[in-house]
């Protein structure tokens, strides 16, 4: 809330899984306090790699990641969560063999028992379905409930910023709107949000602002309403990137 610094910022981040083969090639973005920001782009644009790099799961070879102005570039993933940057991966984002309650307790392992109980109660208030099934193994929850659990667990440590990698992936269309609408409630708790999404329309319906990533860099940035009507967005999604040589294009 200190004015000038964004809650979360990436500055010219270069990152990838193998040295010399960067997937993210100098991407910059910012999430201001209280914002929901969508990160869009065609398949292979580097969206997931960028958020995973910001979460400390992919090596960053140059550039900076800042959380509330603090340089957290290259911190190990487990310190990110404690510092206030939470992340919900796209797949396998709950511990399927452990109960709902144990999943929440895991995130609160630094807290004492009373605090853990309080955080779990808060989670069940936000997601009543989880409260009713707290003793159930997370693997037996429905797809939508798993996503809720993953979000609830990310909130246990009261993060400043929550990053989600395709929260709507694999969900029935009816649930996509429900899960994304939940993010508004999360924002109301004072958490800023950065989400990668393939489902452009649903994402722009929830987000305040969005970035469109292509070939590892941000190509467009604007208000959700503005981007929703932008022909350039449609063009990027057709796979014909602004300057891309089409050597590897589909036949």
């Amino acid at each position: 809330m200190t004015g000038s610094e964004p809650a979360l910022e990436a500055r010219a981040v270069v990152a990838g899984y193998e040295p010399g083969l960067p997937i993210v090639q100098g991407a910059s973005l910012a999430v201001r306090a209280g914002e929901i920001v969508a990160l869009l782009g065609p398949n292979g644009a580097g969206k997931s790699t960028l958020v995973r790099a910001m979460a400390g799961l992919v090596a960053i070879s140059s550039g900076q990641v800042r959380l509330d102005g603090l340089d957290i570039t290259g911190w190990p993933a487990h310190r990110m969560a404690v510092a206030g940057l939470a992340f919900v991966p796209q797949t396998e984002n709950v511990f399927a063999r452990m109960t709902v309650e144990e999943n929440l307790d895991l995130a609160g392992f630094r807290l004492d028992r009373a605090a853990r109980r309080a955080r779990a109660r808060d989670a069940y208030e936000l997601f009543p379905d989880l409260g009713r099934q707290r003793r159930l193994a997370a693997g037996r929850l429905s797809g939508g409930q798993r996503q809720m659990l993953a979000i609830a667990r990310a909130l246990v440590l009261r993060p400043r910023v929550l990053m989600l990698d395709e929260p709507s992936a694999g969900l029935a269309p009816r649930l996509v709107g429900l899960v994304l609408a939940t993010l508004r409630e999360v924002r109301a708790l004072g958490v800023s949000i950065l989400m990668v999404e393939q489902n452009v329309r649903a994402a722009l319906a929830v987000a305040d602002r969005a970035y469109v990533l292509a070939e590892g860099r941000e190509r467009l940035e604007g208000s959700a309403a503005g981007l929703a009507g932008d022909p350039e967005v449609a063009r990027l999604y057709l796979g014909a990137g602004a300057t891309a040589p089409s050597s590897a294009g589909p036949a």
Partner: protein, 303 residues
């Protein structure tokens, strides 16, 4: 002929195998490699206790006493604690200088080979320092009593069973009821997600080494009490340990306990039939049979 005495002997042998197999299975599921050094943790645990007892008797000028019908007294329990601490430290030291760097590079095969090399080094260091001859904690004898008709058990052996059961229960409570236990189970399920949740994977790894090393040390002291202490004692247990862990379902702590008891029983029941010289083959046959018939083990989950 196989009699009830063989069943009891099998359970006693199985109890120590279980303690070792728990360490093997924890290392496999949490640190993700087959640790061949585990047998030598058992040996080093036994020798650490032997060294502690040596210091004690040298300092006090006395023996290690006798508690009731047992062959040993309180000093052995003190030596057991020293052995547990020393073996846990040995495991942590190996992790710090060897395993941690290899883990970061993500090559499970390199970890297995490194553990094989470490095992060789630890084993021969002991032969070099102590000589190959067997040693004993005490020359006293724990007298066997007839517990049931035809079943004779020494008080020492009852301690082995009781201590094993208590340790398994304690580990169960640790894994189910504590934050560390939850973190260990979570790491065995999804090591990446554990980091995302805010848990330091190296801290979980260290806890795993301490627990595995401590249980190995107890197993070593128990073998030392009921059999003898030799530089190869742990290495020779390695095959039964892996057979037990795989029979139970690698990664499953309860499977390791069950597998340990079954391998112990199989050895004890086979010896009167096939002869003691084929004892070591029993574990090998169990291992081959499990891998052929039920590779996920009794309590393991299919891949």
């Amino acid at each position: 002929m196989i009699g009830p005495q063989d069943v009891v002997n099998g359970l006693l042998l199985g109890a120590t195998i279980s303690l070792g197999a728990i360490g093997v299975t924890l290392t496999y599921s949490i640190l993700r490699f087959a640790n061949f050094t585990h047998g030598d943790f058992i040996t080093w645990g036994a020798y650490a206790a032997l060294a502690a007892l040596g210091l004690w008797t040298a300092a006090t000028g006395g023996g290690i006493g006798q508690l009731g019908p047992l062959s040993f007294g309180w000093p052995l329990l003190g030596a057991l604690l020293v052995a547990v601490a020393a073996t846990a430290l040995l495991a942590l030291a190996l992790d710090a200088v060897l395993f941690r760097a290899l883990r970061r590079r993500g090559t499970p095969l390199a970890l297995v080979i490194a553990s094989f090399g470490a095992s060789l080094a630890l084993r021969h260091l002991l032969v070099f320092a102590q000589g190959p001859q067997p040693e004993y904690f005490t020359r006293e004898i724990s007298i066997a009593r007839e517990l049931l008709p035809g079943v004779r058990v020494t008080a020492d052996q009852l301690v082995v069973l009781g201590l094993t059961a208590a340790l398994v229960l304690a580990l169960h409570l640790l894994l189910r009821r504590t934050a560390l236990g939850r973190a260990m189970r979570a790491t065995s399920e999804n090591p990446t997600l554990v980091r995302v949740v805010g848990i330091d994977p190296d801290a979980v790894a260290r806890a795993t080494w301490v627990i595995g090393g401590a249980l190995a040390a107890v197993a070593g002291v128990l073998v030392g009490v009921t059999v003898q202490v030799r530089p190869l004692m742990g290495f020779e247990l390695l095959l039964p340990l892996f057979a037990a862990a795989i029979l139970g379902g690698i990664g499953s702590v309860y499977g390791a306990v069950l597998g340990g008891l079954l391998v112990g029983l199989a050895e004890a029941l086979a010896v009167p039939v096939v002869g003691a010289e084929y004892r070591a083959a029993v574990s090998f046959l169990v291992l081959v049979a499990v891998l052929l018939l039920r590779p996920q083990g009794l309590l393991g989950e299919p891949e």
